[in-house]
Amino acid sequence: VIILNENIDKILELCMIDGVSYADLRIENSDYVTISVTNGEIKETSVGLESGLGVRVLKDGAWGFAYGSITDFEEIVKMALSSVSLTQRFKKEDVSMANAKVIEDKVEVPFKISPLDVSIEDKVQMVLDTDKAIQGDDLIKSTDASYRDVFKNIQFANNEGTRIEQVIPYVMLSANCTCKDAEGGTFQAGAKLGHTGGFELFDKEPAQSVGERAKEDALAGIKAPTIKGGKYNCVLDGAMNGLFAHEACGHSAEGDFVRTAGVLRGKLGKKVAASNVSLVDDGSIQEIDGNKFFGFLPYDDEGVKTYRTDIIDDGVLKSYLNDRATAHYWEAEPTGNARAMFFSNQPIVRMRNTWLEATNDPMSQEELIEAIGNGLLLKKSKGGQVDPIRGTFNFGTGEIWIIENGEVTDRKRPTTAAGNTIRTLKSIIGINNKFDNVTHAIGFCGKGGQAVPTSIGGGWMAVKNITIG
């Protein structure tokens, strides 16, 4: 359902009653495909079309927001305007927005093969092949593979004259393998592949190799001995770098959150990390080494063009991540970080592609291992959780290796890595700026009940004193 410009104008006109200083709308039409296979059997094949309208108004310094079916637009506008009575009642100060350029654009994220042009039969066969690639060892007790594509069409318009239509395809595949040893112990490992783009994702890496990666890690993991818990100096691979950058650091730099609390509050211009450490969030970066990021976004959900934001530069906190309202509060520029999961969610400050890098003189992977000397190599993130107020984190790892006398030696069974954000930022010894494959480091970041695609890829880095297990 593509709405014509005159209808968009009409909806915005309905919003602009007395006292309304700003109004915007998002019209979404998205196609979804989900396929999952377990132990060689197709578990789910589903498709869907979601369409709807979200309307936001800023009236007398307070937000109102409502959503629903596009055809009910008059009712939605009324609901958005009436919801302002609630925010008016509890606001302590007026919301103001930083200026943003008026933009008219129609942008389609480049793709070679539209997922809409690939038959469901071909997609199902691919997922079956991925699942089959995991099988074939007596230790393997359960396998599964899941595929999802989303073909998103979002129209954004505001009363300032911005009109943007974005077409954004996402394609992703995951595989999981569960092994069981003779003693009855089990071990699970997984692998992912995904990007913002089309089905050409599988030209670069065949789907089966995702299954093979999961199988290899599960078989190696079940045979690996456990590691004694305690503090270790560690080298983190690109996925673990990205996970730490996103979860532990990035959330603490979100302009809405940091207004309330957090370990980076009040630290703009101050040293928060070791020298030569930079923290980057970049929605505009599309690919690196021919691999496309998962958090690429031409415009955010307030119509602001995305760009690279250096949150920390050479150890010093330089910027928070902002939408237009938090940018006004922090007297900064909007950084293009306003994102909403669906039309039915309000945009909030979110990350896109986030990583830590060396400001100058990056170290090679070999130099990082040598610098640690004796410790651990942590690879392949398995998600995490952070307490941004206490400043603590707990991350899952996919592989753990022993580093002895500057050499990577034995493999250990993966477990969790925990620590304190600021202490860890200050304990970084060095970073390598060559990215691991970012199509392997994809995730959905959850905040305020919304999950949006993000990339957590980066280069390797060496850190002191991570708590393992």
């Binding site: 609901m79 919801s83 609630l86 100060e93 509050r265 630290k267 998600g383 995490g384 206490r390 297990g469």
Partner: protein, 487 residues
């Protein structure tokens, strides 16, 4: 082609008729229209969300396999396209190994009331509830970070070609608040969340007071050097809080699909002693205080109060109609359309196995008795990292905060406590069960004491401690404001 929007009833009936015309063997139409209002206020910055999620989804059985499709656009063309897609999805799967059908109509004798006053809630009521919740928080000595009220109510309709016609109202209201304490060297924060299907069961002011009290219990936490196997008391929020507790791992291990795939430790252990003799774990689709309690599950099967583990013995797995058929048994009413990429919008989620209310039967120990019986150990209030657990083996490695216990007494609050173990061993090591259950978001559980678990924790470095002491000094002397939180 008629481009008018149909009502949900019309769309379901048309979809079923159209699917039969397209030679689908069986067809099921589901529709819902759910109004939601959310109010969140952080440090005097309110945001509101107000809307209706409306749409239909269809499952068809064609060539003896199932396909699913949904649409939020209720035109004739969209419904027909959804049916064609669902049939296409079924065809591509090939025939299933067992003969499939959708549930037959079985009248529910379940007594689950829907509080009609939920439908009367309007925006100004939400504001009144927020006022009642915030007052005790703002009156406390703590730093009030924010609060949230969530409301959702509407209709769910399920019809299928076997004659099943279920129409039920669903909804709940809930909320909570978060506060921060700057007492001691290390800031601590926390709060409470609760919800109900009954409007008059929620005492918002009492909830506000409880939020304050919960944070005061953990003010001024310490970090300690500790390594060993000691008794651990898990408080209800660490077992099943809003952010997920250890019982979420157990629930995942007791799903019928995990049983069918033999991907859970508990497969083939029905009838075995898998937990301490006085431990009973139930999934209750009818619980008076359950947010999701309803007469029927999300494919129209009457919901049940299902003992999963009864007095330590593994009794049942959670089943929907599909996996019950695969396992040659009957569904026990545990189909859900919540979760996955659909979140709390049931339209987008293909029906799957889900939980309703996780209940641990009360024991005979008070919390104080549990503490008194602990020579040295920990009482854990909340956990981080549960979702990264291994759901096949139940192995977990999490970080918690709570209290250190010595000689039967709570000594002081602690944080950054690394706890590791696995669910099968943990269940067998439950040696005390609390007699007071706490009603949470989807859980009704008492505290549990585990006789021994592996604990690891490290004290903060002297350098970091010196920084915190300096900060404390400067803020106490009012030479600077504490940087961690706004006024």
């Amino acid at each position: 082609m008629n481009m008018e929007q149909m009502t949900i009833h019309e769309a379901i009936k048309y979809g079923i008729k159209y699917a039969k015309k397209q030679k689908a063997k069986h067809v099921e139409g589901h529709g819902s229209s759910i109004t939601s209002v959310g109010l969140e206020v952080e440090k005097g910055r309110p945001s509101v969300s107000n809307g209706v999620n409306k749409g239909c989804s269809f499952r068809v059985i064609y060539d003896n396999n199932i396909g699913f499709a949904f649409t939020t656009n209720l035109t004739q063309a969209s419904i027909e396209q959804s049916i064609k897609s669902a049939i296409g999805n079924a065809k591509v799967r090939g025939a299933d190994s067992v003969k499939l059908s959708f549930p037959e109509s079985v009248p529910s004798t379940n007594k689950v009331e829907f509080d009609l006053s939920l439908l009367e809630v309007d925006i100004s009521d939400i504001g009144d509830y927020y006022d009642q919740l915030r007052e005790p928080c703002e009156a406390s000595s703590l730093n009030f970070l924010g609060a949230q009220i969530m409301y959702s109510a509407g209709d769910m309709i399920i019809h299928n070609s076997s004659g099943l016609e279920v129409e039920q109202k669903i909804g709940f209201i809930g909320g909570g608040a978060f506060l921060l304490s700057l007492k001691g060297l290390i800031p601590s924060w926390g709060g409470e969340f609760t919800g109900s299907r009954y409007l008059n069961k929620l005492d918002w002011s009492d909830l506000g007071h409880r939020c304050v009290s919960e944070v005061k219990k953990v003010e001024g936490p310490k970090t300690i050097n500790y390594s060993g196997e000691v008794p651990v008391i898990f408080q209800p929020d660490a077992l099943g809080g809003i952010f997920g507790g250890l019982l979420t791992v157990l629930n995942r291990m007791l799903r019928g699909d995990s049983l069918y795939q033999k991907s859970t430790y508990f497969a083939d252990r029905i009838g075995e002693d898998v937990a301490a003799a006085d431990f009973s774990f139930i999934d209750d689709g009818l619980h008076e205080d359950g947010l999701l309690s309803s007469k029927y599950d999300h494919e129209g099967v009457p919901t049940t109060t299902l003992p999963l583990i009864e007095k330590g013995v593994l009794k049942n797995f959670l089943l929907d109609n599909y996996y019950a058929t695969k396992l040659e048994t009957e569904s026990n009413g545990k189909c859900s359309r919540y979760g996955g990429m659909g979140g709390f919008n049931p339209i987008k989620q293909s029906p799957t196995i889900g939980t309703y209310t996780s209940v641990v039967a009360p024991g005979d120990s008070s919390y104080d008795e549990m503490v008194q019986e602990t020579k040295e150990g920990f009482s854990i209030n909340n956990l981080m990292g549960v979702h990264m657990s291994d759901f096949a083996s139940g192995r977990f490695s999490v970080t918690g905060s709570g209290h250190f216990i010595k000689n039967g007494e709570i000594k002081y609050p602690v944080q950054d406590i690394a706890i590791s173990g696995d669910i099968p061993s943990l269940l067998l090591k439950i040696d005390m069960i609390g007699k007071e259950q706490k009603i949470g978001f989807g859980t009704v559980v008492p505290p549990l004491r585990i006789s021994s678990l592996s604990i690891n924790s490290q004290k903060m470095s002297m350098k970091f401690k010196s920084m915190l002491i300096m900060l404390k000094l400067l803020t106490t002397l009012k030479l600077m404001k504490h940087p961690i939180a706004a006024d």
